[in-house]
């Protein structure tokens, strides 16, 4: 490859000036003339109840109230806030059994915080005060907080279509025996010399993106539904809203505002349906709905918690012969991503090691918890916590070094990836492991931490992971990009890819500049307007750079091709005989025959006539590149983390001392952006491993939907971080890049658990691994 000029450089991010001066407009910052405020009334008294009466009359009389809406005053259509159903064919939807089971307001409360009614008023205060006047009475129903409870024979059924409250299991038609599997697992276990088996619990972690859900909707004079939202998926939300309100897509417009963090919480719809329903009730007036932190917590999806059973068999020489696993997740009150996570949790498991045979079953059970959906990693962190601890247990029994074992048995190029039948086409995990081991002083520390005594004991642990760049071939991957060449030879890219802070607009701009051989400053990315932008799936599955970048690259190549064709005509030369330097197209071997991009671009737009000759000057037509891009693969990122911890044997407290992350990123289009993803991912991974979990009481009332009661790693808790970027260009990625958006979160989870195992010799089966659990385990071991 020729030398890269923009790719690989730490350019200034596109949006940071606006962000650092406070000029960036998030949804809550948008003020429109005549704005009204909506307040949604939710049930915070019960997690499962039937509404027996709803009296809106007092609220309607309150000062400043414009309208009060109950379940009957809005569309009766049911919907599914997730967008997975739009990423598969109608047939596949049938096979998966995806259903629409949410309504705007409900008379059957299924979780703490379910929506009952709403007030529209002239101010937020008036709306809040009136909302307090809405009188609801309930009939309490039994609550089912776990899969075990929900599947009992006498449990109330959440949906008639889903007997046994089994929202989803891998469908027989696509997965014989309801399992994602290869080989003959039961037979393989007979060959095993060592078998390890346990049941784990993985927690309900919350994204805690810093911007709580904020929305504005306006049903305008042209009978168009406008919605201002910081969704990760503007085009799919546009389509979802069009379906829900039975409007053509031309009459639904998403104004995508700056996103204050997503991590999956904004994947699909959150409160867009409610906000739009309010706006439809007051045509011509914008309605703003602002969530409190606690409300955002229980209305946007969380990570799927649940019981995760796993059994592995090894031969004495270390050969992994069989892996059997089952993840029963406590889905929550509505279907949303029931199918997706139940599948991918196993896919990541299947994509990691060369087991002779493997069988994974994934089941999603309705429960009276708030909904679960996408969260950075999408099943992978759950699998990492369980799989990587089981591997380390196996290694301990085999007496082999966990890094050596992983190097020998992880899947690589040519092996089936996370999707059986789609082999990996690049993998630099060995290099990641070697470099991480060296940077972390693995061998020396592993030796040193044997046979410790004393109150503070250290441990060092490793975990690896595989992930994906885009969800192809499981789900549709598609991005449309227009690249418009202006007469001054700058380019505006028009596409719907969103930037949640992960830096995608910056890296997409770098890809464009590099492809065109223009300056970074020559490119502008126009996003945020679904009227103008073509299709894009949205930001999920670490795909924006990989798929969006592919689209940008193709559209820019199209511009470049047109430029060269025109230059060829003007210079009367063969295209192959031309080259570009500093935005001037030259004829090879001829120093004076050239034409600037600026001239071509300008003549294309201002195609004037030469007054003397009467001939048109230059080639007519504004150049526009176009791509409707479907990626050929899913360029798998791999990565490893080595964690070092110190455990206080008297209190069970864990201090994380250092994380060394080494990731196969294909190519770091912007190293700072990649490091930022790994750093931020690690903060969330450590949280999942050590502190983050949503707690409910036995009535299903959430106990910690606030930053006061739910604790994340803060600046002083974060360890020393070392990030190693292993650049092994993927053959299909733009300039070799792979997706890195989720990867950083995953291996810190397993590595931290394994470091604790190394320090205390005991595995803690429930995440988060709190001091309480460690102390209990230490005591149990002494008994």
């Amino acid at each position: 490859m020729t030398e890269l000029k923009v790719v690989g450089k730490r350019v200034e991010r596109v949006d940071v000036r606006a962000k650092v001066t406070g000029g960036a407009l998030y949804a809550a910052d948008v003020q429109l003339a005549g704005m009204l405020y909506g307040k949604i009334v939710r049930c915070y008294d019960y997690a499962h109840a039937r509404v027996t009466s709803l009296d809106l009359s007092e609220a309607a009389k309150c000062k400043g109230v414009i309208k009060v809406l109950g379940p009957k005053d809005v569309t009766q259509k049911e919907y599914n806030a997730s967008v997975l159903d739009m990423m598969v064919s109608a047939d596949m939807r049938g096979v998966l059994g995806d259903i629409d089971d949410q309504s705007i307001f409900t008379d059957h409360v299924k979780h703490y915080g379910d929506a009952i009614a709403a007030v529209i008023a002239i101010s937020e205060e008036a709306a809040e005060r009136a909302a307090e006047k809405i009188k609801v009475t309930y009939e309490e129903l039994p609550v089912y907080m776990t899969a075990e409870a929900a599947k009992q024979a006498d449990a109330l059924q959440f949906r008639p279509e889903k007997p046994g409250n089994l929202a989803f299991q891998l469908p027989e038609m696509a997965f014989p025996d309801n399992a994602y599997a290869w080989g003959e697992v039961d037979k393989s276990f007979d060959e095993a010399d060592i078998i390890v088996e346990d049941t784990f619990y993985v927690p309900k972690q919350k994204q805690c993106q810093m911007e709580p859900g904020s929305y504005i909707a306006l049903y305008d004079d042209q009978e168009r539904l406008n919605c201002w939202t910081s969704t990760q998926m503007p085009k799919l939300v546009q389509k979802k809203l069009a379906n829900l309100f039975e409007l053509p897509m031309t009459r639904v417009r998403i104004n995508a505002t700056v996103i204050g963090g997503g991590f999956g919480a904004r994947l699909g719809m959150v409160l867009e349906p409610e906000t739009c329903a309010l706006a439809m009730a007051v045509p011509g007036r914008p309605v703003k709905v602002l969530s409190t932190r606690e409300e955002d917590w229980v209305t946007s999806p969380s990570r799927h918690p649940g019981k995760y059973w796993m059994k592995m068999g090894f031969k004495k020489d270390g050969t992994p012969v069989a892996c059997d696993a089952k993840f029963e997740n406590y889905k929550g009150a509505y279907y949303v991503d029931a199918s997706g996570t139940a599948f991918t949790t196993g896919a990541w498991l299947g994509g990691m090691y060369k087991f002779d045979s493997l069988r994974y079953r994934g089941e999603s059970y309705y429960t009276n918890q708030s909904i679960c959906g996408a969260f950075r990693g999408y099943g992978n962190p759950q699998t990492n916590f369980v799989m990587e601890q089981m591997i380390d247990r196996g290694c301990a029994e085999l007496g082999v070094d966990p890094i050596e074992w992983r190097k020998k048995w992880h899947k690589g190029v040519g092996d089936d990836g996370w999707c059986i039948g789609v082999p990996y086409n690049s993998c630099a995990l060995d290099e990641c492991l070697d470099r991480a081991a060296e940077a972390a002083n693995w061998t020396e520390k592993r030796e040193k931490y044997k046979n410790q005594t004393g109150t503070k004991r250290r441990g060092i642990g490793v975990a690896v992971m595989n992930h994906t760049s885009g969800a192809m071939p499981m789900l549709l991957e598609h991005t449309v990009c227009d690249a418009l060449l202006h007469q001054d030879a700058t380019v505006t890219l028009n596409l719907a890819c969103s930037d949640m802070g992960q830096g995608s607009h910056t890296t997409l701009r770098q890809v464009a500049a590099e492809t065109l051989d223009f300056a970074y400053e020559d490119i502008h990315i126009a996003t945020g307007n679904t009227d103008a932008a073509g299709f894009d799936i949205g930001a999920h599955a670490s795909r924006t750079l990989y798929v969006g970048g592919g689209a940008v690259k193709q559209a820019c190549e199209d511009v470049r091709r047109q430029l060269f064709e025109r230059a060829a005509l003007e210079l009367e030369e063969d295209v192959d005989n031309l080259y570009m330097e500093d935005k001037i197209i030259h004829v090879k071997g001829s120093s004076n025959k050239s034409i600037s991009v600026q001239t071509i671009a300008d003549q294309g737009v201002n195609n004037f006539m030469n007054p003397e000759t009467g001939e048109l000057i230059g080639q007519p037509g504004q150049i526009q590149g176009y791509a409707s891009f479907f990626p050929p693969h899913n360029a798998p990122p791999f990565g490893t983390t080595i964690a070092e911890v110190e455990v206080d044997m008297e209190t069970g407290e864990v201090k994380v001392l250092e994380l060394v992350n080494a990731h196969d990123v294909g190519r770091a289009i912007h190293p700072g952006v990649v490091e930022g993803q790994l750093d931020g991912g690690a903060q969330q991974g450590l949280g999942m491993a050590l502190t983050e979990e949503t707690y409910y009481d036995d009535k299903g009332i959430c106990q910690n939907n606030s930053f006061t009661d739910y604790k994340m790693f803060g600046p002083s808790d974060m360890p020393k971080m070392t990030n190693i970027l292993v650049e092994n260009p993927d053959p299909t990625g733009p300039f070799g890049a792979k997706g890195v958006g989720e990867a950083g979160l995953v291996p810190p989870v397993g590595a931290t658990a394994n470091a604790i195992f190394n320090a205390i010799g005991i595995q803690i089966l429930e995440a988060p691994i709190t001091p309480e659990k460690i102390l209990k385990a230490l005591e149990d071991a002494n008994d």
Binding site: T651, G652, T770, E772
Partner: protein, 292 residues
């Protein structure tokens, strides 16, 4: 569940202590004093309701933080946690208080939260309150008819309930002067660095020739109020502090506390680590708790 808009109340902005006292006398129970507001405003966003809020913002003369070797430390009603952290005198003579202030909440909150507000809140987790409990102190409570002194030992009655009458304003807290050989320390355990304590402990020991003359040992999050541990104090008083004694002390702690389960920790865990924390805070006082 908080509300994005606080409930209705009238904010009153008196400009002198007598004016405050008048308002308190008028409104009695239907009135809350607003100092730093870091507890009160959060409560008002939850379900606490009161019609009148009396702010101390414009009241002069309440921000005195002064130390005198003979009189001790005087902390005015408006002295913030940040003021404590910045005070060299506190750092030197009352290490327990300084250590509590240092880890208290967040920099922003330390700039507004007050020491007296922390005491008035009567939380069983209050960090500065706990350090002061170990150090000992008298509150000056003032109403329209006069001032009375109440020892911290008698101030916290039950969860959130104090000996303050509704018409009284806490004017200041006086902490006794440091005594020769006094050593103090504070330590807490939290889920993450920034958090309310899940358990905390503070001690003040008077040492002479390696023997503990007297001890005050206080703990938080192990009962409905902050508590002192009289049996532990008795064990320490007059004794040489050896590792063996600390082992016995550690065992005794569990017998003196009544922790509960809550979101931050479990009763069981608190019982298990309480003794360890006390042992550690005593060691900290002995090694770093000098009052000079």
């Amino acid at each position: 569940m908080t509300s994005r808009v606080m409930r209705d109340f009238d904010l009153l902005l008196p400009e002198s202590v007598p004016e405050v006292l008048e308002l308190l006398a008028d409104h009695k129970d239907n009135c809350a004093i607003l100092s730093g507001g870091t507890d009160l405003l959060v409560a008002l966003k939850f379900d606490y309701a009161v019609d009148n809020v009396v702010s101390l913002a414009l009241v002069p003369g309440l921000d005195d933080l002064s130390f005198d070797p003979d009189q001790g430390l005087s902390i005015g009603a408006k002295v913030t946690i940040a003021d404590i952290v910045k005070s060299q005198d506190v750092k030197t003579y009352y290490p327990a208080l300084w250590q509590a202030a240092k880890v208290f909440a967040t920099p922003q909150l330390r700039n507004t939260a007050t020491v007296l507000g922390n005491i008035m809140r009567a939380s069983p987790a209050g960090d500065c309150s706990l350090a002061l409990y170990a150090l000992g102190g008298d509150l000056q409570l003032k109403n329209a008819s006069g001032v009375r002194d109440v020892s911290l030992d008698d101030f916290w009655l039950s969860y959130g309930v104090t000996a303050r009458q509704s018409d009284e304003l806490a004017i200041s807290l006086r902490v006794p002067p440091p005594t020769a050989g006094q050593k103090s320390a504070f330590q807490r355990m939290t889920r993450t660095t920034e958090d309310l304590s899940k358990i905390n402990a503070a001690v003040s020991l008077t040492m002479a020739d390696g023997v503990c003359q007297s001890a005050r040992v206080a703990m938080g999050c192990v009962g409905p109020t902050l508590i002192r541990l009289p049996k532990v104090e008795a064990m320490l008083g007059g004794a040489e502090i050896t590792e063996d004694l600390l082992g016995e002390v550690s065992d005794m702690v569990a017998a003196e506390i009544t922790p509960i389960d809550d979101i931050r920790s479990s009763a069981d865990y608190r019982r298990k680590v309480a003794g360890i924390l006390v042992r550690r805070v005593i060691n900290l006082a002995l090694t770093e708790g000098n009052n000079q």
